[in-house]
């Protein structure tokens, strides 16, 4: 069988190598071709199982992913010290749609970076390596491999911000790296703990996802004399890494800095896929491998999610920098993911259908936010490229000079604030419906925040694009075809998901169903 996943992961790296030896002038084209081919191939992840005949159930779950490749890699065992790491890639519904999103956004990021002229070759190569790292994260089916890719992604991201960023780029890059490493330290501790606890408990040492999902750690750990449920500790350790990436309050402070300083395409990727790594990790790793721990932590998680939503919106309201505003709106929007997951894993004897709705909403929000925020950042990027300014109040009446950009920007903002018919609505609606049963108060807070969301987004739109034209910007040209291309492509995706969300729901159903079943089988705690 053709190793599709391996190809998807390493084709961009090959592209980067080709770039380094290829002619300097063609680097944009080489990068675009490689990422484009990766994108086209990634679509087969979706089409393949459908063509295969087993229908939408064929996407599989964590136990039986639709796509799976496994090669034994590191195996050494000396007595009780066993280290087994397999090169195990897999993709079920949850992975597939993130893989496709990543391939799409990476491709668009390269097209959107056509104007980068400072050391283009290295820039493009790093973007491709970043794509490899993220692809690896989304389709690693071995926990150690997952962590490895999680770290691999860090290096290109650091360099991209530190070299091509704005004025405070080094500060932002270091902040990003230090936060992430801090989180992944805890994550690695959790991984080792999980691996050995499970190994000691069952006698078999493996970090493969199917093994971890089908065997759960039992008992308690005693730390400094305090006894703590093993699963809760594991959940917290693993989640800390993801919480920083998501980002969850109070670990979010790296995000506005990184977004503001990063070049446009990198911001797009950061918001579009890197944050999703945190959400993906939360669902795939924390919830799947420590379900009881997740349930124990569901209430705090829901509260934190609600705080995320309202705090992010409040911060957005007072921003003057367009990019910072979008960054904080990301914090707010990722809060819906947290809330949705919390509702799906929450205690209480909720109807499983509500759980599934909440989880589906959270997953669709991941996709929707990736596409919509990508659009917003591209729009700001186009504007910044021409005006070299992102101050909202400095603009005004840009509609007159750049109607095309204004229209697409308006479209993106509508999607972001959850206009029915666009993808944001589907996600948020599902989250609200699903989570009301479990966490009514938090859901109400989240729903009320929609007003704030509409407020800051529309207010920004009004101040920058409508009203009388500020004569200072009379020389600006409208976005050209190249700049519009990624925007339009993303717009189509957003519209399609909004009008026909069924295809995403079908894709996700088998994987999410598995999780809901696991959660349903847990003893219901009377809280």
């Amino acid at each position: 069988m053709f190793p599709l996943l391996t190809t998807l992961v390493f084709l961009p790296t090959i592209g980067a190598l080709v770039l380094m030896v290829g002619p300097k002038g063609a680097s944009r084209w080489i990068a675009a071709i490689f990422s484009g081919v990766t994108f086209v191939l990634s679509l087969w992840l979706y089409i393949g199982p459908l063509v295969g005949g087993s229908g939408t159930a064929g996407f599989g779950s964590i136990m039986h992913p639709a796509w799976s490749e496994s090669i034994p890699w590191v195996h050494f065992a000396i007595g009780t010290l066993q280290l087994n790491i397999d090169y195990h890639l897999g993709a079920d519904g949850l992975s597939i749609f993130m893989l496709i999103l990543n391939a799409l956004l990476s491709f668009l990021a390269i097209i959107g970076s056509w104007h980068v002229s400072n050391r283009t070759r290295e820039y493009m190569a790093l973007l491709l390596i970043l794509e490899t790292g993220v692809m690896g994260v989304f389709c690693a089916f071995d926990l150690y491999l997952f962590w490895l890719f999680w770290e691999v992604e860090l290096i290109p991201m650091f360099l991209l911000i530190a070299i091509w960023g704005g004025q405070r780029r080094e500060y932002a890059a270091w902040k990003f790296v230090i936060y992430t490493i801090f989180g992944s330290a805890f994550m690695l501790a959790g991984i080792i703990l999980l691996y050995f606890s499970l190994g000691a408990q069952n006698g078999a040492y493996s970090a493969s996802f199917s093994y971890l999902a089908s065997h759960q750690v039992a008992g308690t750990y005693s730390i400094f004399g305090i006894s703590i449920a093993s699963q809760l500790l594991l959940f917290l350790l693993l989640y800390l890494g993801f919480a920083i990436k998501l980002p969850m309050i109070p670990f979010h402070t790296w995000l506005p800095d990184a977004h503001t300083e990063a070049p446009t395409a990198v911001s797009v990727l950061l918001a579009g896929v890197l944050l999703k790594m945190g959400a993906y990790g939360l669902i795939r790793i924390c919830v799947d491998f420590a379900p009881q721990g997740a349930r124990d932590f569901a209430l705090p998680l829901a509260v934190l999610g609600a705080i995320n939503i309202i705090y992010g919106a409040g911060c957005s309201l007072v921003q003057r920098d367009m990019k910072k505003l979008i960054a904080y709106s990301s914090v707010s929007h990722m809060g819906y993911v947290i809330l949705g997951v919390a509702a799906a894993i929450g205690p209480g004897a909720t109807n499983p259908a509500f759980r599934e709705a909440a989880l589906t909403g959270a997953a669709i929000q991941m996709f929707s936010h990736g596409a919509v925020t990508g659009m917003l950042f591209f729009c700001v990027g186009v504007l910044y490229e021409k005006a070299h300014l992102r101050e909202i109040n400095a603009f005004g009446g840009l509609m007159a000079r750049m109607p095309r950009l204004t229209w697409i920007y308006t479209f993106a903002i509508m999607a972001s604030l959850g206009l029915p018919g666009l993808s944001g609505f589907v996600a948020e609606y599902l989250v609200y419906t699903g989570s009301f049963a479990n966490f009514p108060a938090q859901t109400i807070i989240a729903a009320v925040t929609m007003i704030l969301t509409a407020g800051y987004l529309l207010w920004m739109l009004k101040r920058a694009f409508y009203g009388p034209l500020n004569p200072r910007w009379a020389h600006l040209n409208d976005a050209n075809l190249l700049e519009m291309a990624p925007l339009v492509m993303l717009g189509v995706v957003v519209l399609f998901v909004g009008v026909y969300p069924g295809f995403l729901v079908d894709l996700l159903r088998p994987s999410l169903h598995q999780i809901i079943q696991t959660m349903g089988s847990l003893p219901v705690a009377g809280r």
């Binding site: 000396i78 007595g79 009780t80 010290l81 330290a185 501790a189 080792i192 703990l193 050995f196 606890s197």
Partner: protein, 526 residues
């Protein structure tokens, strides 16, 4: 006659490695007086041969087997003893190999005394790690410390070296006082200084009654404090950076590995072997020490700008990882610890070896600046340093990773997840300062017009990542100009030592099985 003691030849045979080293130390002193000055460089060869034959006799002792204890329970030659002796002797050999170039550069005339003292210190380390009686542990400690005091202050006319020796002497005597107090109390409580007898006594008096417990426990605490000084565990670490920085680098290398090995093995024997029945009593103390040491060592190391000092703090941090092996109180923990000691010996002496080549005078010239652009100036040296630093950081593929993995897994399997969690977090912190040195060696260059820079560019191109230019002012040009002239010749011995260490770091990183198997057998695991 009540005393039927007779010392047999077998008894002396058991301490053959120690005797060999001692003999060679005396031999070196005698030959030193007879050799003309220009031939004294050859003394290192005699010393090395002595170390090798000591290692051979250690293997012979292991081969011959027989009763593991000699001199009425003063000395043991069990697996733990043999393994730790080999680690110490290996470290001594590597440290001797890097010494000649250094001695030449520093203008040290008393070579005979230098080698003799190194060998005497090594003898003390061997005695301490093979001792099975509190009294022998103390004497071994003194025998290894005394020569080290002098060696720290060996380079004449350097205040920092004098200070180093003085500080080490003062604080170490202080620690010895604690240790001796503790031993006296344990003796008072149990009526024995032999570890086997102590074990028998404690095991037969479980649970400890109120008349015995305070005396014994205070004694144990004081012993732990005394030995914690020697392994430089936080909060008893204050002497380490100053002493390590001021001492001649080959001595620092020996000290950081040999002393630690001897003291940790002694601590393991006292706690895990002799006081095993009261594990739950001393365990919290050790856990606290390990956690403090891991976190504190790494955090303090991250703030250093002098590489030698940074390595000193890093060795403190590694003492923390090593203490995990004792703190978990299992045989697997001990196996992991001695494996870690072997790994640590190789990579740490390697790192200090590189520092020694770079260093111009005692305690100076090891600033991070000296490492800037080393990758272009001396690619082989920088490559070796990179390997050692990555190993110290615990990157997979190096022996450092396997060692950390073994220790952490031992902690989880002994149900002490907190040690694993803190250990992993601490090692992530350590990435920062190890990588900073690597960064300085390869990435911090003069941006324009320097042939060295272009070499680095080419190297970077192969890796697919562009160099991040940190320097941009005219000042950096001056630094770079100096850098080019700072090229140091590498002495043959140092080259050999570094080469061996690099090979061992990588080979043991990829195939750790046999060595770990040895470590397991050394502590008697099936």
């Amino acid at each position: 006659m009540a005393f039927t003691y007779t010392i047999t030849a077998g008894d002396w045979g058991h301490i053959a490695p120690q005797l060999t080293l001692l003999g060679v130390a005396l031999l070196v002193m005698v030959i030193d007086t007879m050799l003309p000055a220009r031939l004294r460089g050859g003394l290192v060869i005699i010393a090395l041969l002595g170390v090798l034959s000591a290692a051979a006799s250690a293997l012979l002792v292991a081969q011959l087997g027989g009763a593991p204890s000699a001199f009425f329970g003063m000395i043991t030659s069990d697996g733990l003893a043999i393994f730790s002796m080999l680690v110490i002797l290996g470290a001594t050999a590597l440290a001797l190999l890097i010494a000649p170039g250094y001695i030449e550069r520093q203008g040290i005339h008393q070579q005979g005394e230098y080698y003799a003292l190194v060998l005497l210190a090594a003898t003390g380390m061997l005695l301490m790690s093979t001792a099975s009686n509190l009294m022998m542990i103390f004497l071994g400690l003194e025998l290894l410390s005394l020569p080290l005091y002098v060696l720290c202050a060996f380079v004449p006319g350097q205040q920092i070296a004098q200070e180093s020796g003085m500080k080490y002497f003062l604080l170490s005597s202080f620690a010895s006082g604690f240790l001796l107090y503790g031993m006296a109390l344990v003796y008072g409580a149990t009526g024995a200084t032999g570890l086997t007898q102590i074990h028998a006594f404690v095991a037969s008096h479980m649970p400890l009654d109120s008349s015995l417990a305070p005396l014994l426990l205070v004694g144990v605490v004081l012993i732990v404090v005394g030995l914690a000084f020697k392994v430089s565990a936080i909060p008893f670490h204050a002497w380490t950076p100053d002493v390590y920085q001021g001492a001649p680098t080959p001595v620092t290398a020996l000290m950081s590995v040999g002393t630690k090995t001897a003291a940790l093995v002694a601590l393991a024997r006292i706690l895990v072997v002799a006081l095993g029945p009261i594990t739950s009593q001393w365990q919290p103390l050790l856990i606290a020490l390990a956690i403090l040491t891991m976190l504190g060592g790494n955090l303090l190391a991250a703030t250093q700008t002098n590489v030698k000092r940074m390595l000193a703090y890093s060795s403190i941090a590694h003492a923390g990882y090593l203490l995990i092996g004792i703190a978990v109180g299992t045989n697997l923990g001990l196996a992991a610890m001695i494996f870690y000691l072997a790994a640590y010996g190789i990579m740490n002496i390697g790192a200090f070896g590189v520092v020694q080549v770079i260093e111009r005078s005692v305690g100076f010239g090891t600033e991070l600046d000296r490492f800037r652009g080393l990758g272009a100036r001396q690619p082989w040296l920088a490559g070796a340093m990179t390997v050692f630093l990555l190993a110290l950081a615990g990157i997979p593929g190096t022996v450092g990773f396997v060692a950390k993995y073994a220790v952490f897994s031992a902690a989880v399997l002994a149900s002490h997840p907190e040690l694993t969690i803190v250990g992993v977090i601490a090692s992530m912190i350590s990435f920062y300062y190890y990588l900073r040195i690597i960064w300085a060696m390869y990435f911090e260059l003069n941006p324009e017009g320097d042939p060295a820079t272009q070499g680095a560019r080419a190297a970077l191109g192969a890796q697919g990542t562009p160099p991040l230019m940190v320097e941009s002012s005219g000042q950096s040009a001056v630094i770079a100009a100096k850098s080019v002239s700072m090229r140091q010749p590498i002495a043959l011995g140092a080259m050999l030592s570094l080469g061996l260490a690099v090979l061992a770091t990588i080979i043991l990183g990829i195939l750790p099985g046999p060595l770990f198997e040895l470590a397991r057998q050394a502590v008697g695991l099936p």
